[in-house]
């Protein structure tokens, strides 16, 4: 491989208020390679790439792209220079059609005497979508008609359509089904074969090792190393990311059969037309119940039903001890059920509010003295729990929006610890979280189990289900297709069989 | 004019449209009742449309009254500027148009009105004289300093009264210490009055030029709260429900108002023109003066003679002002009647009718 540099970052710096997101980061990306970019949550991966794509302005350092000094004013000009990105967050705009989204900022190719020729635009979009096997998407429809995954795929098509020299994929795979992932990998491979370059950000190390040629590691906003794929294994990468040996312990190590203790929750014939079909389950004291399956198998909705957040379903969720049916969120919380949403920023945390407010919000019953809630109590209360989860923060008055993903997740969990919930529903609790925080969350789950709390763990990652759960239920098309007890030598394949 | 073909002949009842700001408020109700009384006396029809002083609504109200078959319309227009449009509608449809409570100040609009065949005139109060008389009333009480609270700059009525006051003050050597305009509600007026008293300890009087009673009430209250009743004298225009008590206790020193008969004269102007009593080619300006009260006794008289069971004009008197009943009646008689109306006038005409 002729090692021609396509993009060179030199001494890049970027700060957000008190956070040094990028601290003198320098590395080169070569033409025709797939470069993995890994690091813990908040290590600066997204920031580095948003500086490269003009979304954020760098504070210092320089960038050289194709041999020329490069300083994009915004995403559009980065696109024009030949760099495109699929971002972590959703980046399509509802209210515009699919074709308007695809060509946003590039309308001038479709202007006829100042008129936007929608026919032409739709046809071009259609052709493009078909190229990527997305025949079923009608480009003249509002993009709001489509699912998260379809929209990600549309974004993908849009990003590749610019024929970029450098294509950046920021943590997209977790949002995609296997099929979508295959398409993405295919595109990455094709681009590489055409002599273009790809930067691939993911927390899924095996995936990174499978597809990347070289891997760059960031830690705390600093460049650590760039390594050849062939010279490292998963543990090496982890060590580079975390900066020390990880303890041996990761998942649970006990494999005794869970002795059915008292029932705490009964789920009876839950049905949501077209989503869930006649689901019945029991949860016991001290049990970790895993629910797995493909993203759209209905497991996320099931979590919401149990939490009382879903309204249109038939069947019952009954809290066994008190023998009451759970019908709404407030009641669920009061009865000791906590729910950690998969969509942290949209459903779980008030971003522009302090850690303290977020933790205390569900705990007012315990903090109220008469009708008075004192400042001091709130402060010490929230400090206690954020410290217990080792949230990296300046103080509990810090806004959630200033925390990195992993720390946000910790606050999201801390809230329920503080509330003292007996039953926790964790929906993808480790999504997009680095190994260190993951380990902390697993450890916490074990501790809770020992204290007699019950956990429903909903996850798309089979390994963590296998590693953590006493019992795993697999859903397929909204119905239970598999139900296995904890055992030492369970394999992923066994579960996948139930899923598809 | 072409009065004969314009409807009076078609069916025998004369129909007069009234475009008014509203007819459920205190003043509007009085107008509504009195015009209905007059219409009964004359066997005429009257139709009211409320506009809320909104320009577009005023235009629409005239369009609608024309459509509903009125022979003439009297209007309290929202502004001078809307008149050309109203006149045009009336000209196009052959319907007479008179104003009440208003005059046309804008010379250009006036030209248009003068050249119209169907614009027949207006009734309004002499506002300069109102201000002047009340200013003089203050001078008589020995006041040396004053402050003015008024509503909009640019409002013809407010400006005229202001002019009258200034003239009286200049003649009598009264000094205007401060003024505050655009006061429409009670507490704004109270704030202004309070501020005046705080800033100028030598303030002896406050003029509230008008504004339908609210600003007056605020100023009275502020003066009272400061314990300055009588030391700071208040004059204003437009009678309020508590006026009698206010005059008796000295909270208010002098007041003009009671001019709600104004639309009646425009109504008669319109009626007589429709039935062919007046020459429709020109236009007429009917001036009337307000009723002045400066003591509880004055007010009692007003209440008795204007608001009692016998209206200021009785059925016979109204018929006497109508060409259909009195072929000798001329526009000169109507003008004289408008100019004459006052407490004394009614007391004289109705002496013996009221106990």
């Amino acid at each position: 491989m002729g090692k021609e540099i396509i993009l060179s970052l030199k001494g890049l710096c970027k700060t957000f208020g008190p956070t040094k997101a990028l601290d003198d980061v320098s590395f080169d990306i070569y033409r025709g390679e797939i470069r993995g970019l890994i690091g813990e949550n908040g290590s600066g991966k997204s920031t580095a790439m948003s500086v490269v794509t003009g979304i954020h302005r760098k504070d210092g350092g320089e960038m050289v792209f194709n041999g020329e000094e490069y300083n994009p004013a915004d995403l559009l000009s980065a696109n024009q220079s030949g760099i495109s990105i699929i971002m972590q967050e959703m980046n399509t705009i509802e209210g515009l059609t699919v074709s308007e989204n695809i060509f946003l900022g590039h309308e001038k190719d479709y202007l006829v005497f100042g008129f936007k020729n929608m026919g032409m635009m739709n046809a071009a979009a259609k052709k493009l979508l078909e190229e990527y096997g997305l025949d079923e998407i009608d480009p003249s429809l509002d993009i709001g008609h489509f699912s998260f995954e379809e929209r990600k795929m549309i974004e993908l098509v849009k990003a590749v359509n610019f024929e970029p020299q450098l294509f950046i994929v920021d943590e997209t795979t977790t949002a995609l089904s296997q099929d979508g992932r295959e398409k993405l990998y295919g595109i990455m491979k094709r681009l590489k074969e055409e002599g273009r370059s790809v930067v691939f950000i993911s927390h899924d190390l095996p995936e990174v090792l499978q597809w990347c040629d070289t891997i760059t590691v960031l830690r705390d906003g600093k460049f650590i190393d760039t390594v050849e794929k062939s010279s490292v294994d998963e543990d090496d990468l982890k060590r580079l990311m975390v900066g020390r040996e990880l303890g041996e312990k990761y998942y649970r190590e006990d494999y005794e059969k869970f002795e059915g203790s008292e029932k705490v929750l009964e789920i009876k014939s839950i049905t949501i037309p077209g989503v869930l079909h006649d689901i019945s389950l029991d949860l016991h004291r001290g049990e970790i119940l895993g629910i797995g399956g493909l993203t759209d198998c209905g497991m996320h909705e099931l979590g919401k039903v149990i939490y009382g957040a879903e309204k249109n379903y038939s069947g019952k969720v009954i809290l066994s001890g008190k023998n009451v049916e759970i019908t709404d969120i407030k009641q669920a919380i009061d009865l000791g059920i906590g729910y950690v949403s998969k969509n942290r920023d949209q459903e779980a945390l008030m971003l522009y509010s302090s850690i303290r407010d977020n933790i205390c919000l569900v705990c007012l019953d315990d903090l109220e003295r008469g009708i008075h809630i004192s400042d001091k109590t709130e402060k010490s209360f929230s400090e206690e729990f954020s410290k217990r989860l080792q949230v990296k923060m300046t103080s509990v008055e810090q806004f959630i929006s200033d925390l990195s993903g992993g720390n946000k997740q910790k606050v999201s969990v801390a809230k329920w610890l503080a509330k003292g919930s007996d039953i926790l529903i964790l929906d993808c609790p480790t999504r997009g979280i680095d190994v260190k925080v993951k380990a902390a969350i697993y450890e916490l789950m074990e501790e809770l189990k020992e204290r007699g709390k019950s956990i429903i763990m909903i996850s798309e990652e089979l390994l963590e289900l296998i590693g953590m759960c006493d019992r795993i239920v697999i859903l397929k098309h909204g119905a239970i297709s598999g139900d296995v007890e904890r055992k030492k030598d369970m394999s992923e394949e066994e579960l996948i069989d139930y899923m598809i | 004019g072409g009065q004969q073909e314009s409807g009076a002949a078609a069916d025998d009842t004369v129909k007069i449209g009234v475009s008014i700001w509203g007819y459920t408020d205190a003043l509007g109700t009085k107008v509504y009742n009195f015009l209905n009384y007059a219409a009964d006396a004359l066997d005429a029809e009257v139709e009211f449309v409320a506009t809320g002083f909104d320009t577009e609504q005023t235009v629409a109200s005239i369009e609608n009254l024309v459509a509903s078959g009125c022979d003439a319309i009297i209007v309290c227009n929202s502004s001078d500027g809307v008149m050309p449009k109203l006149i045009k509608i009336c000209d196009d449809n052959g319907v007479y148009l008179a104003q009440f409570f208003r005059k046309i100040a804008d010379p250009e609009v006036l030209k248009i009105a003068e050249s119209s065949k169907y614009y027949i005139g207006t009734t309004h109060e002499d506002e300069i004289s109102t201000g002047y008389n009340l200013g003089k009333a203050l001078a008589e009480k020995g006041v040396k300093t004053t402050a003015i609270i008024s509503w909009n700059h640019g409002d013809a009525t407010a400006e005229d009264r202001y002019t009258g006051y200034k003239k009286a003050f200049a003649e009598s050597g009264i000094k205007i210490l401060a003024e505050q305009w655009e006061i429409m509600v009670a507490e704004e007026s109270a704030k202004a009055a309070e501020s005046f008293m705080a800033a100028y300890p030598n303030l002896e009087s406050i003029v509230v030029t008008g504004g339908s009673g609210e600003p007056l009430a605020g100023a009275v209250s502020a003066v009272e709260n400061r314990g300055m009743t009588g030391k700071v004298q208040i004059v204003s225009t437009d009678f309020i429900p508590t006026l009698r008590e206010d005059l008796a206790s000295g909270r208010i020193s002098a007041m003009s108002g009671g001019h709600w008969t104004d639309p009646f004269f425009s109504f008669m102007l319109a009626y007589n023109t429709v039935v062919g009593g007046y020459d429709a080619d020109g236009w007429e300006e009917l001036l009337m003066d307000m009723v002045y009260v400066s003591s509880a006794e004055d007010y009692d008289n007003y209440d008795k003679w204007f608001n009692g069971d016998v209206p200021p004009y009785t059925t016979e008197e109204i018929q006497n002002l109508a060409y259909t009943f009195n072929k000798n009646h001329t526009i000169g008689d109507l003008k004289a009647a408008a100019a004459a109306i006052s407490l004394e006038d009614v007391m004289k005409r109705h002496a013996g009718m009221i106990k």
Partner: protein
């Protein structure tokens, strides 16, 4: 077919209003002539609403439209005295564009909520109108009133409507404005100069207010300064129309929906007037009627641009 349902609604509601009043007042309501009059009457708020729609689509508000109409009208009438039609038209348009631009610039610079900016500025515009028109009422000379009557007013409005539809659906400006309305952050990430397009939105809104001003002074042949926020009253009908447009935008072209909405309002007001309903009560009934219509058609999801 959801579309069909809403299109039917848009046809049936005015029809129902028409029929009800025709039965109540067969003689005085609903002649062809008066329908024509109503169409002309509803042009004015419709035009203002078209412009306002560009703002409200972005989740912003402009309460200075009424003040803009008044000030631009005053400006136009004053210039017409020396420059005739050119003065009237250019005067109004330039003034209204300047106001729109100023709103936009101040909003984007100061970063205060648009409601507050425009309410604050409207007071300034109102006062400015007062200073300009030292006479209490400015009347437009008889020889320049052509645009106030049919068919000229209809032609101008139809042209403006066409421009609004074009800008909103078939131009880059419209696409960007819709994008900003749906998600400002993403739009910014996509390289759209959000602030610039917000200013453009205000500018468009201002210009439509200017066109409204021209037709308003031509229709009522005069204009007077309004003070103490009384110009706010003029915002209400356009805003209501906009909400009809917003509510139905998924199903039919919002500009057309606005026009039909405004027509229905005119129909209703006229019917109430013919039935001798007090003007205050008219507003109450109209207001309630619209609240109900909007709430029926309102498309209840998180995408609502205005809380």
């Amino acid at each position: 077919m959801k579309e069909l349902k809403y299109i039917l609604l848009l046809i049936c509601v005015p029809l129902a209003v028409y029929i009800v009043f025709s039965i109540m007042q067969p003689e005085n309501f609903g002649s062809l002539n008066s329908i024509l009059m109503l169409i002309q009457q509803c042009l004015l708020p419709s035009l203002a609403a078209f412009g306002f729609y560009f703002i409200i689509t972005m989740g912003l508000f402009d309460f200075s439209i009424g003040a803009n109409i008044v000030l631009s009208g005053i400006f136009g009438v004053m210039l017409s005295r020396s420059m005739g039609y050119a003065g009237l038209i250019l005067g109004s348009l330039v003034c209204s564009a300047a106001i729109g631009f100023l709103n936009g610039i101040i909003y984007t610079r100061l970063r205060i909520p648009s409601i507050i900016v425009t309410v604050g500025l409207l007071m300034i515009y109102e006062c400015f109108g007062k200073f300009l028109s030292s006479e209490s009422v400015l009347s437009l000379d008889k020889s320049y009133r052509m645009l106030g009557s049919a068919p000229q007013n209809i032609i101008v409005s139809a042209a403006a409507m066409f421009v609004a539809i074009f800008l909103l659906k078939y131009s880059r400006i419209g696409t960007y404005i819709r994008a900003i309305g749906n998600n400002e952050n993403i739009a910014r990430n996509m390289g759209i100069k959000v602030d610039r397009y917000k200013v453009i939105g205000f500018l468009i809104c201002g210009l439509f207010a200017g066109i409204t001003a021209i037709l308003t002074v031509s229709y009522s042949s005069s204009v007077a300064a309004q003070l103490r926020m009384s110009s706010m009253d003029r915002n209400f009908t356009p805003i209501m129309g906009c909400f009809v447009g917003l509510a139905l935008k998924k199903y039919i072209n919002p500009i057309i929906a606005i026009f039909i909405g405004e027509f229905t309002i005119s129909l209703l007001i006229n019917g109430l007037m013919t039935n001798g309903i007090d003007s205050t009560l008219q507003k109450v009934i109209t207001g309630s009627f619209l609240l109900i219509i909007v709430s029926f058609t309102s498309y209840k999801n998180k995408a609502r641009v205005v809380k």
